[in-house]
């Protein structure tokens, strides 16, 4: 039978959860080569909204926790084709071309271009899932060589820690701001300006006559169809793997980095006390053994034995 029981109400844990939610600030970056272009990306995630519900089956339901991607900068590396004139066959034969005019190209090689697309704060996804409670004993490396009293006095005691341990998590892309379409147009305009801006008007017309609309060409290279949301969702979710990364970061945050509750071990049941005119009495510390967590509908209960 347990010697100690601590009960936490759902609303208390809800408040703790809100604090933990605010602590998640993760950043990552990388690059990926796709068929016609590459992407460099930098992402930071933070959490908003969401709540937890205690379940009667010893689990906690995580509901509608929003992931906000901020910053989120994706930088496509575009390989623009050379723009050339000439090359006509002026003496054809049934077997090919006997004389072909030389081709003259505006660029000496296919130009590579990188223009960043800043989507910070414009994309949201939502996580829901079920969590158990995982208990872990933390041997604080800061108290190596100290007695338990010294560790307690220095604020580096060992601890029992209790983490939300997601069993399954489901992530949905819930919102792409309408402004993303405009931003994409702006990106394409920037690319066109970089590639063609230095050319006189008549040469720009010639380039666009040869290649077709440059904006359309860039859309083709990026494989942007009519549905920008679908394109962006595929790019972020599948090509970059952003949503998997977000789930992984949220998992690490709740399951490994940030406990919802922790208990000093040994636990101080009586503080240090100074006797008048006498010596200081050390605090009374009792070891906490084998703590167990039970979640029921109204509350979360931690029970443990004390002593050696």
């Amino acid at each position: 039978m347990a010697d100690v029981e601590i009960a936490l109400s759902e609303s208390t844990v809800q408040q703790v959860f809100r604090v933990l939610r605010g602590k998640l600030r993760e950043q990552a970056s990388g690059s990926v080569d796709l068929v016609h272009f590459s992407i460099d990306w930098t992402v930071g995630i933070r959490l908003e909204k969401g709540r937890i519900d205690f379940q009667s089956n010893n689990t906690v339901l995580l509901k509608e926790l929003d992931i906000v991607y901020d910053p989120l900068v994706v930088t496509p590396g575009l390989n623009i084709p050379k723009v050339c004139v000439g090359g006509n066959c002026i003496l054809p034969s049934p077997f090919g071309c006997i004389i072909r005019l030389p081709r003259y190209c505006f660029f000496e090689a296919d130009p590579d271009l990188k223009v960043p697309l800043d989507l910070s704060g414009l994309i949201r996804s939502e996580i829901s899932g079920t969590c158990g409670i995982r208990t872990e004993h933390f041997d604080d490396p800061g108290n190596a060589g100290m007695s338990v009293w010294q560790a307690h006095a220095q604020g580096v005691p060992d601890k029992w820690r209790f983490f939300l341990n997601p069993g399954w998590l489901d992530i949905d892309l819930i919102d792409i701001a309408d402004t993303v379409g405009a931003l994409l147009d702006k990106l394409i305009a920037a690319v066109v300006d970089t590639i063609l801006g230095w050319l006189p008007d008549w040469a720009q017309d010639l380039v666009e006559a040869i290649l077709g609309s440059f904006a359309d060409l860039i859309r083709d290279i990026l494989d942007i169809g009519d549905d920008i949301e679908e394109w962006l969702s595929n790019l972020l979710g599948i090509s970059i793997g952003l949503f998997d990364l977000a789930v992984q970061l949220v998992l690490q945050h709740f399951a490994k980095k940030t406990p919802i509750f922790e208990l000093e071990n040994p636990y101080p049941i009586m503080p240090a006390e100074a006797m008048s005119g006498g010596p200081v009495l050390v605090p009374v510390l009792v070891p906490v053994v084998d703590p167990k967590v039970v979640v029921t509908d109204p509350e979360l209960t931690i029970s443990a034995s004390i002593g050696v």
Partner: protein, 240 residues
């Protein structure tokens, strides 16, 4: 953007067959043999090369970028090019400069004798200019004092671009036709029936209306007429 831009193309407004530069080329017919070539720029010889022309089933041409010959050469040996002729036909060398300002000249020798000097084109040679800058150009044949006009219309962004090559015969009596209208990015091919030099120069910028040519491209000159006849004969179905 790290790629270099070929700005010489945008600046080019004068094209001279005796001072070859970007957007212009000289096409010279070659018979079977070994040729040694020199590339001149101003008074200096800036590179040498060789062309071997052999007989094969079909004639062919070889494109020779004078910038490459004038540029650094790792092994220091003259660059070698190959072209073919067919029986009773000729092969071709196409000399051009892919970039840079004009001024290149080419001299070819076969068996120690002068076979070609680009400072003075001969009958059977062709001079081609690709014009990208819209405006009104004057075409001029040096010795003959022939004058003609080329109107280059601005390309229309959003419309399908069809590059074309218009042929102008250069004969003793004049250019034929003596006026050409085409779209920016198209080429004019001067087919020489007599020895001369060709100059094309921008006279005035502005909107010119491009007119697409009717009929197939026509190549003139003795050798070209022969080839054209043979090509036509092969195209024509045999009579029953």
């Amino acid at each position: 953007m790290s790629t270099l831009v070929n700005t010489a193309m945008l600046r080019a407004t004068v094209f001279e067959s005796d001072a070859l530069g970007v957007l212009a080329s000289i096409i010279h017919p070659l018979t079977v043999g070994e040729y040694e070539g020199e590339v001149h720029y101003g008074k200096a010889v800036v590179g040498t090369f060789g062309i071997t022309v052999t007989e094969d089933a079909e004639p062919s041409s070889v494109q020779i970028d004078l910038n490459v010959i004038a540029g650094p050469n790792a092994n220091g040996l003259p660059r070698k090019y190959r072209a073919t002729t067919a029986k009773e036909q000729v092969g071709y060398a196409v000399f051009y400069a892919s970039k840079g300002s004009r001024g290149f000249q080419v001299v070819l020798r076969g068996n120690g004798e002068l076979a070609f000097d680009s400072r003075r084109l001969q009958s059977g040679d062709m001079y081609a200019v690709t014009l990208i800058r819209p405006g009104r150009y004057k075409m001029h044949a040096g010795r003959n004092g022939l004058v003609g006009r080329i109107d280059v219309g601005r390309a229309k962004a959003g419309e399908k671009f069809e590059s074309e090559a218009r042929t102008v015969a250069v004969e003793e009596k004049g250019f034929s036709p003596d006026a050409v209208a085409m779209e920016s990015g198209s080429s004019v091919v001067f087919a020489l029936a007599s020895a001369t030099n060709i100059t094309v120069a921008l006279e005035g910028e502005g909107e010119a209306t491009a007119v697409r040519p009717a009929g197939p491209i026509r190549i003139l000159g003795r050798d070209h007429r022969d080839i054209e006849r043979r090509v036509e004969a092969k195209r024509r179905p045999a009579k029953e």
